[in-house]
Symmetry: C2
Subunit: 509 residues, 2 copies
Amino acid sequence: MSNKPINDPQSRRQFLKSTGMVVGALGGMALSRPAQAVPIPAPIPQQWDTTVDVLIVGTGFAGLAAAIEARNAQAEVLVIDKMPLLGGNSVLNGGDLAAAGSKMQQEIGIEDSPELMYQDMLKAGSGLNYPELARTVAEHSVEALEWAQSIGAQFNVVNYHGGHSVKRAHQLVQRSGSGLIIKQQQKAREQGAVIEQRAKLLRLIVEPDGRVIGAEVRRRYKFPDENSGEIAYIRARKGVVLASGGFSQGVAMRQMYDPRLTDAFTSTNHPGATGEAIMAACMIGALDTQMDWIQLGPWTSPDENGFGYVPQFVERVVGYGLMVDPATGKRFFKETGNRKERADAIIQLGHPAIIIADKTNTLNMVDPGQREGALKNGSLKPYDSLEALAKAYDMPVDAFVAQVNRWNEFVSRRNDADLGCMIFKDAVPNVTPPFYAARLWPRVHHTMGGLAINKDAQVIGFDLKPIPGLYAAGETVGGVHGAVRLGSVAMTDCIVFGRIAGKNAAASA
Amino acid sequence: MSNKPINDPQSRRQFLKSTGMVVGALGGMALSRPAQAVPIPAPIPQQWDTTVDVLIVGTGFAGLAAAIEARNAQAEVLVIDKMPLLGGNSVLNGGDLAAAGSKMQQEIGIEDSPELMYQDMLKAGSGLNYPELARTVAEHSVEALEWAQSIGAQFNVVNYHGGHSVKRAHQLVQRSGSGLIIKQQQKAREQGAVIEQRAKLLRLIVEPDGRVIGAEVRRRYKFPDENSGEIAYIRARKGVVLASGGFSQGVAMRQMYDPRLTDAFTSTNHPGATGEAIMAACMIGALDTQMDWIQLGPWTSPDENGFGYVPQFVERVVGYGLMVDPATGKRFFKETGNRKERADAIIQLGHPAIIIADKTNTLNMVDPGQREGALKNGSLKPYDSLEALAKAYDMPVDAFVAQVNRWNEFVSRRNDADLGCMIFKDAVPNVTPPFYAARLWPRVHHTMGGLAINKDAQVIGFDLKPIPGLYAAGETVGGVHGAVRLGSVAMTDCIVFGRIAGKNAAASA
């Protein structure tokens, strides 16, 4: 952690510049390029290299759920992934699955319902959510949890995420989505699905009547070399399922929707989250929706790379510890606010915020492995006293100590009279050293927009009709989450719509 | 005007229901339709029915500006419009053109600059604006005004619109965009452009290398009968310019981007503003951006249809009179806020707001024809006293009178200590009867999203490259205004990018 004076105007300006806040807001985009041919749908090949019933693009939660269900329906299944490693962002995911009304919730006395989850999704989504998609996710959320358990995934704790009315994030024992991805891969392969790495979708192949019948791909592709490998044509007798994630890492693409998000903004995502499959679908007439709603995660640390360990610390201690502006030593936004609210509030500060929780609240809530990882890479620091902590971040000591005392009173009374933060019933005043602290600065985390689908996971075209033979699920899809996706709903969304897409693709005429 | 008790919860609920606020937020969309073939690009015809250099779609400000410039560059030009009447929304427009740094501004002592206008656009646009497009509009705004004057349009007053830093809306003497459209048509025809009504674009025709070379159209089309007229093929040797407006009236289309905007929300737009040309471009790979930013006009009255007369009254008296919530008799949002802020604040009330100005402020500011029109259709009402006005709207009389007195003090001091509304230097206290009042409820007014273009008005494809032979301008385009378009900037945008599109299409290889 830096001891440099973050209150100094000069270093704030440099910080803003380094994160693109200045450059992005005022700088121009290089939109003018040499005129080039627009790829139209690939021609139907004389000969197909491979023929299957269902071709699935992507090996994350959604793609593998689709593969398992398509195989259940007796379809011949090929799953392709452009990356050498399987699982995309799903293996980086924290392993939290939102389910409303589960047995695990009931056992710890949490009252919840799909209706409450649906309302939370609409509220966070500013009402932009496609109602039937959001409702489908909420109503099938417990089923998604039980399906994951049925193939061997283990969940052992129910967490809170900002913007939800109750704790409903069921976390994998591994504290990572890889705990489910491993089971999904095993199950898909056991059932006979073929998974091919380093095969990249280039263009979809469409019959004259508009039906998607296959894809042009690049096999033995070496990300990110666009000339690597060889072209091949894969016929999909029944359907193609796009489950290849979002475009948080696609800098030029995301700037077409939000020009501020220059390459000075880093991302929590795996490097392959560049959105070409969405664009390939749009090139054959698929309708993209709400693409400008790009989520910045409010819980990443500038002191570690990628997603890192700090987000898990933050999401476990909100409602227990407190978040302050180091310039004043005071709280500035409710810690249990939704992702967009919190990210906007931190960006508004113009410099990183500080999150703090004492030993008791941290030990009770945060997984030891996650805490140790963050301590080891230096993004989380322990301090013997509040004074020492304040000094390390150049905070006004008295104001900061007074703020912690005020917060601790709120914790005792279970009521935040200042900002209306939720305070959980097992929270205790932060009085026991060490006091843990981390700096927070947002990163591009999730692209809410994507292809429009109906509740049967059929992709909708720019003529507002379903495109025969084309399905999508997961972050590739827009409209489920509206303006803001709540934490832990992605995993539910992927499983629910991945299964629907796989089942319907296999049944497609 | 209704004398029914608008404070009564039951009638409020009914009002919300009738406007779709309840239905839209919770109801499902009928996305599932029978599977149908997706139209792919129209095949290249054996024979063309008509051949020109430049085909322009739309006869509003942008389309006619493009026609004039394309003819200036010696191109053979055909302009088509699907409607029987020319001018689209432009003839319904209030005739306000934003220009920053004009002679008219200087004459009345207004200091302004393109940089200030650009910053106002970015602020209203939440920074989502494509910087190079917004800057192009601001920097060419005075040139756009002078160009309109050069072809015979007359402007005689500089108005204020919410969200601008200064008065910069130069208004046509006709108080309607038709004052310019008539001159543009004359000029275009004088120069030899052919204008064909009732010809609807169906599909764009694309060469195998991706270049747009023409269009499939329906001639002698009778809106909205999709089977009327006959198919024809128009070859465009140099380019096609899409300048056919937005999709405020396209209910199914706008719900793909904002599901709340059901048919219970009416629109200020002409009935043909249904967006098919945007969709036709997307079907051949054009990239649409920021489509979910759909503007509701905060100044329409539920007591008249369409755009009506009341918006002109409102935009002239903000900064002079005041807007109140009839439930409390008090102001609730700054009257000079931008369109989205004000529309959101009124929708939040759950019932129409009331705008009020006295005789002096109204006579000084509002065009007599506009005022008489509103008085005649009953959407604007005069009252002899504040008490009579309060009673007519079931407002708490004392609270309302106290609010007007408080506002009048702010007017005298030129400082709104409550909500920070701008107060213009020629505003006077509202003390002279009659007191004029109108009810306000938002309507769908402008679709900020549309096709992505670069500063040369070339349409960008989903491969992030310009599509050869395809240009767009005006409301068909997205990214100029970002999240919120400021009043009076549409006219500037249409002229600036219409001219660029026409010039570049004519010069296209």
